[in-house]
Symmetry: C2
Subunit: 507 residues, 2 copies
């Protein structure tokens, strides 16, 4: 059987261009995962300083090929040069931040307890540190060809932790992934890295084989609920189950309180329209459901959304599958009995226009609730009008957990605020106040995740804590100092936070 | 259908005594999990100080009923009054330590970043804190009727995190669990707690229903590989999968280097015999496989184990199932072709004597390797003689991951030490030097877990970090100060470690 070719596809025309790779065979997967085991040993051996240098060099590599990468990514995703230039900068920033996180070292969770007496008897000398889990499989997302794909946050955090990475490239931007791989291999060669610190595979079957491979220790995934759940099931059903860190997207509710509508209707409406259509609505943090009071002020918010949407040009979608799904869902939703269509622009042959519909709050618990509460990629939104706080609370309780929940409020005196925040906290990874959930800051504090179906674990895929997914603790009991990693020795460790005899200490 | 009664069983005779409970029905499980949701809200509302007070009071409650608890636990487990008195003290200590861990608050992983500029644009104000996951199901273990059962570490850590607990009581010590429940309910009533902060269920089917219940947010389990894996599969196959923190036991390899055998043969042999027969060999950290050099000094270690075992009286096992499994495995193992029986004492009608067998290192990769590398509860050990470092490395590579790995060494100059530690680190949660793995210190540093099949996650079930299993992060973005939990406000928080603008700070 000859290998199946993978082409670079023009997102604006849907036409496949030249072949850039081929689907990876089972034998190739086995060889790559064996290399990744050796490469993990090498990477762990570089130490945190060495890995930070590698991550910085990978970031430099991306930036020195900026125009070339942005051009092919734009060709394959139609996301546009400005957005992709920003995404490249973000991706380089993520790589460097993960180097800083490795250097800072709090992710090692070092704890040292000297031998001593306790109320229940003597305690031996105990010293704990986190060590790399092993080779990590990463599944890139269609909608971020860089920041959540081959060179993205999962790759950066796994390398920072000392784990080799095998990326299952998204077929929707194969050429971008191949170019990134070439750049990364060149950088890694300069460090004398063995084969397998970073590798790329293609094909749906290859992805499943990768998750099932006994040498893979964990999986990072960003993508659809259906695809993510299938791979989660594979990871959990292995003879040796492994952690599957899936970010599966979400509908992100946005609440406008009465008081907020009274004071800021035009501004909120414009903001909603912008956030919902950013990147042609193809963000996992896209706000999809807008809970707006059934008042005159609420109607002014809705009018402002509709007005703002008029100015939004039709946009190209990432690929034909996503475009068909969007058009199919749009047509289903606009035909529902209890739905009012507020805004529907003229698309072109291949570019889609924004669509806004409205329902009453009770629709979320009615016969069409499943369709309304599903995530729909694309420039689509649902306005949900609520009559009072009870209706709002019931509507919020109908939501599945989400990556984010947003509230627009007049502030501390707003009588609805406490209840709304309470409901959002029960089912959100991030609560946004008077803003919009699109745009996930990359920082020490960010949590990008949530309860299922937003994610398959309590971990984050963005921000400093992403590194914690790829390590496991080991305790040394009464170890001779010579065998201890340097972080576990009594010598001072400038800048490193450690718990010593129960108390956190810095340096 | 009338409910199935659960009796208190005399471990020494195997005779069931009076009924102390009945198997919990599906309807009762549903009612209990609904109560647990409300109770979690109440518990979270008590704050960390409130929960620490409750945990201290629960510890006091156990201690003020010490004699009564120890008597029934001894009746049901045959573990003996001294051991159970110690276990009760340990259990009370765990509850209090978890109160301290809640108060200390680093498990909240608080991070505050004020709005600011970054190389990739402005960053909003972000504040992160961990919140309780929701009701937790706990499965008690047969071999620790207190410390890893109803009032044990999983319960203590879940309550500390703010999660209500439903314990699936082990049928082997039903009366002990019922007594603990009565004491806990009395203490909780004094705090005005609603029903459901702590509850007990009985029966195998009830356990499965509990894990499948949509209101249960996570599971803590200590027990067998077969039982744990079945429940892990249930937890992973739910419509909404939940984390399953299973500690499934392990064979715990113990290596004696050439140099250690030369210098400390009698002492090491006596130590091995003691550790392997402690609690009649019914510890998940029982060392089961002893890698001893094929030298004269190695033979002196083996002789010392055999001599020491002569002095060990036959012991009663926890229940008839465990006793039958032990006798069955013993009889299979002693009849293998490549096995030499080194020591087999005379048991009584119901008490079992220690058994020690010997194989050569190559047996671990031979036809009987599976049987040899399985965990066998009971006072049973396998001496594995190795000829050189290569044979030792191959034998260690054949081991499944374990909770612990132990090395006896002459210290820094020992030429085998680095390689042995390297191999143990690949597949152990804790590496013990010149000691024995039985006896798991309860402290800030302890890690009690390991890679599968030792555990189903990288988490620990003992020590301060056990609390981290029961929380999930929430980020507040640009929140008005009034809605922030006090830990997320700019005000100083005496003693609490927080990350502020990227830097960890204490207080």
């Amino acid at each position: 059987m000859s290998p199946i070719a993978v082409a670079s596809i023009d997102a604006r025309t849907g036409e496949p261009g030249k072949d850039v790779a081929w689907e990876t065979s089972a034998a190739e997967i086995a060889a790559l995962s064996a290399q990744a085991v050796e490469a993990t040993t090498w990477l762990a051996g570089q130490g945190r300083e060495g890995r930070a240098r590698i991550l910085n060099a990978l970031a430099d590599g991306l930036e020195s090929h900026r125009d070339e990468i942005v051009a092919i990514a734009d060709h394959e995703t139609a996301l546009g040069v400005p957005r992709l230039t920003g995404e490249l900068a973000r991706t380089a920033f993520q790589l460097r931040l993960m180097g800083e996180v490795a250097l800072e070292g709090s992710y090692l969770d070092v704890s040292i307890e000297h031998a001593g007496d306790t109320p229940i008897g003597p305690r031996p000398d105990l010293r704990r540190i986190n060590v790399p889990l092993g080779p990590v499989a990463v599944f890139g997302a269609s909608n971020f060809p860089l920041a959540f794909s081959a060179p993205g946050g999962d790759t950066a955090s796994a390398l920072a932790a000392g784990c080799a990475v095998i990326v299952k490239a998204h077929p929707s931007h194969a050429g971008t992934s191949v170019l990134v791989d070439e750049i990364f291999q060149e950088v890694l060669a300069e460090f004398g890295a063995p084969k397998g610190v970073f590798a790329l595979v293609f094909g749906w079957e290859a992805g499943t084989s990768l998750v099932a491979d006994p040498k893979i220790a964990a999986v990072g995934f960003t993508g659809s609920l259906a695809g993510g759940r299938a791979l989660f099931n594979t990871a959990s059903a292995r003879a040796v189950p492994i952690p599957f860190y899936g970010e599966l997207g979400s509908v992100n509710p946005l609440v406008v309180t009465d008081a907020a509508a009274e004071t800021r209707a035009p501004e909120i409406g414009a903001g909603i329209a912008g956030s919902m259509t950013m990147g042609t609505g193809q963000f996992c943090t896209k706000p999809g459901l807008f809970l707006v009071p059934d008042t005159d002020a609420g109607s002014r918010v809705v009018d402002s959304i509709v007005d703002s949407l008029q100015a939004v040009a039709p946009g190209h979608m990432l690929n034909d599958g996503i475009r068909s799904a969007y058009l199919g869902a749009s047509s289903q939703l606009t035909q529902l009995d209890d739905v009012t269509v507020l805004s529907t622009g003229e698309g072109t042959d291949r570019a889609v226009a924004p669509l806004l519909i409205e329902v009453r709050a009770e629709a979320l618990t009615g016969a069409n609730s499943e369709l309304l509460l599903e995530e729909h990629f694309g420039p689509f939104g649902v306005v949900i009008r609520y009559g009072n706080q009870d209706e709002l609370a019931q509507a919020l309780a109908a939501f599945p957990p989400a990556l984010t929940g947003t509230v627009h409020t007049s502030g501390a005196g707003d009588p609805q605020l406490t209840d709304v925040v309470g409901e959002l906290e029960k089912r959100s990874g991030r609560i946004v106040f008077n803003g919009y959930p699109t745009g996930v800051a990359v920082s020490w504090t960010m949590h990008h995740g949530g309860q299922y179906p937003a994610a398959t674990s309590a971990a984050t895929s963005v921000g400093a804590n992403a590194i914690r997914r790829w390590v496991r603790p080991v305790v040394y009991q009464e170890a001779p100092v010579e065998v201890l990693p340097r972080e576990l020795r009594d010598d001072p460790t400038p800048g490193l936070v450690r718990r010593i005899d129960g108390k956190l200490q810095i340096g």
